[in-house]
């Protein structure tokens, strides 16, 4: 069965591009447009995904808030996460894997493979 990856980003084109390329590599992709959507999605799909890719700057619930929510829930705290960041001034929490925007397909595959293998 395919590994599931959840992509959380408020930009529609980014999400669609990533879905496209990750599906080409054999992953199943779920998407959410902000942190709040992502939590709803996680409750709905039941089985935790293998990886969550999270944008930092989003409306309603931003990336850092989502990370905090995940850490607070025992069923979700263990899911590997990768933060996608375009800002050099807004920091991700320490210890979180970060992939800097803009990134190419190879960098995306590398970071996803590495994170899913943990």
């Amino acid at each position: 069965m395919a590994q599931v990856i959840l992509v959380v980003d408020d930009d529609a084109d980014i999400v669609e591009s990533m879905r496209d390329f990750l599906e080409c590599e054999g992953y199943a992709v779920e998407v959410a447009s902000n942190g709040h959507d992502a939590l709803t999605m996680l409750e709905r799909i039941g089985e935790p995904p293998s990886l969550i890719l999270i944008d930092l700057l989003m409306p309603i619930m931003d990336g850092n808030e989502l990370l905090a929510e995940l850490a607070r829930r025992p069923s979700l705290a263990a899911i590997p996460v990768v933060v996608m960041s375009a800002a050099s001034t807004i920091a991700a929490p320490p210890g979180v894997v970060v992939i800097q925007k803009p990134f190419g397909i190879k960098a995306l595959y590398d970071v996803v493979k590495h994170a899913c293998a943990r």
Binding site: S17, L56, L57, P59, E65
Partner: protein
Amino acid sequence: MRPEPVHFGAHASALVNASPVGQLLLDRELRVVAANPVAAALGPLAQSSVIGRPFGDVVPQLSQLGGVFRGVFETNLPFLNLELPGGGPEQRRRLIVSGFPVTDPEHRFVGVTIVDLPDSEPIDSMVRDRDELFRVAFERAAIGMLVLDWSNHGVRMNPAAERLYGYTPAEMERIGIQGITHPDDWAVDLEQFSRLMAGEIDHYQLAKRYVRKGGDIVWGDLVVSVARDAGGQPKLIISMVQDITERKRAEAERDQLLAERTQLLQQAQEGVRVRDVFLAMAAHELKTPLTPLRMEIEGMLAATQASLPDAAAERTHQRLSRVERQITRLERLVGDLLDVSSMAAGRLEVVRERVNLAEVAREVVARHHQQAQWSGYEITTRADAPVFGWWDRARLEQVATNLISNALKFGGGKPIEVATESTPTLARLTVRDHGVGIPAELHERVFEKFERIHSDRKHPGLGLGLWICRQLVTALGGQVRVESAPGSGSTFVVELPCGEA
């Protein structure tokens, strides 16, 4: 037990001569037999010429005491501490006089001691006449006064002037006015003084620096006038000087602060100018690679379009559409940066043509359809009736785009309404969201450049959109405002004149 008498012997005359108390010895005819230096100095005669003179010649202030001295001879009793006016030019001194019999085996004398008390009376009792009044005023004035006798260059100064300059009148006579004037201020003082002496002016006023005794610099506000004799020749030069060192120091401090602020302001203005030039250059540099990107993507889109509805071509077409949308977005951001610099420089050009505002609104909403759907927004458009005016189509698209992008950022996922309508004189575009809203005190601030009133993490952006909207709408002769309250969403209203320009 009585103490043994002390014999002064040869020391007696040394004691008397050194005493600060005036001492006289008078014979039966009340002529001076001996006088110490202090006693002699009370009167007009030199000490060497007082012996044998009537006591009234030696110390005229005592002349009324003849009867009292004779009484000492007759009674052999002393009198103590008789108080007399000090007389002489000073008028305000007092003399405390005691007389007592002095005997030796052959002679009888009267001994006199005189204690000279300086000024100790209250002022009201001292001011006895007009001369006295002026003298006291001169002595006590808080303003420095210096009177120079032009005929002999004698100087009189009051204590305030002495304090200011640090010199005594005698020292002043020696070093002169130039000697106490700061070298840089001498020329202007001298020039004014020459005009005064020539009769061109009857006084002059000058803020100048003095060099005090010891080298300190003090600032004085000087007023100089001249009193002339019957022949019109200068007789007295009258200078009044107020110490304004403290005021000058405060002024200098203020001037320096002002200069620092001016410099900061210039630096800030220069910083803004450099920023605008930089933005213009950056925008230009960014636009250059966008041009071939735009051409290539349109070429590729046209090519895949021809191959539709092939499944692979469909997929490629979707990807290329994504690329095209992102290029459009980059173009808009770069355009915003360029607009900032040209608008800040006052170079905003509008190209007027006949435009249907309703059509512009519908097109811009359609362009945002995909992003709205992804973010969970429902956009309702009420723009069916045409709204024509003489505007700049590209600029109106920019306005509508900025307002709708904002609604998609701050609308909290709740429905958005876009509407156009017209009155005989006005065209109106409204974009309403139901998001967080804006408190009344920020309604104007949201239209400021680089102003971003919401959090960085949830609503990133350059803070330019609404500022650009206002610049554009204003350039088209219209107005843009927001109606909003926290919690009840925001409505942005653009009103444009719809008459032909």
